[in-house]
Amino acid sequence: MVGNLLTALFSTVGYCLLMNVPVKKIIPASVGGMLSWLLYLLLKDHVASVFYLLVLVGAFAATYSEIAAKLAKTPATLFLLPALIPLVPGGSAYYAMLGLVQNRFDDMRHYALLTGQWAVGLAAGICVVAVIRQIGQYMQRHGG
């Protein structure tokens, strides 16, 4: 478990270096990635549907990034992208295309559907938090 989390942390640090995140913000951004991976590992055996599990994890990552952006006075995207790095479905997109190239259509269909499920689930979770934040801002501005 600890090794798993450390691997997620270091891979996120590597991606932050690759994406030119400012040096002082690499640590909080990577901790966001580690925490969302920890939440995924904790909830994996308790939520039956993978889609709703990913909606929960995406909502957690978006909440973390909004709070961290508020504290660090930077755009939320800077923390949102690293928080999603351990979870994004890059491998299954690649395996789907490899199945297409190598004539294994059962694999291709399986991995393509898996890619769509992960991408749509994470994006839906992020959008839930984004919409709640927009409603909150509207209420603040208009005194509701």
């Binding site: 690759l18 992208l81 890059g90 997109a93 297409l100 190598q102």
Partner: protein, 51 residues
């Protein structure tokens, strides 16, 4: 495996859900094309050298 576009795919879906449909479609097609090109590279190496 480092250049496989996972984050771009998620961001594309998020863009489309938020309302930026054209930019989301563009990024999604770009990431799918990148994955296809990577798979073609790996697949032809496997085909040629029979790993």
């Amino acid at each position: 495996m480092l250049v496989i576009p996972g984050a771009a795919l998620t961001n594309a879906v998020r863009d489309m859900l938020v309302g930026h449909t054209i930019s989301g479609l563009l990024r999604m097609f770009e990431s799918l094309l990148l994955a296809l090109m990577l798979a073609i590279g790996f697949g032809s190496a496997i085909y040629l050298f029979g790993v």
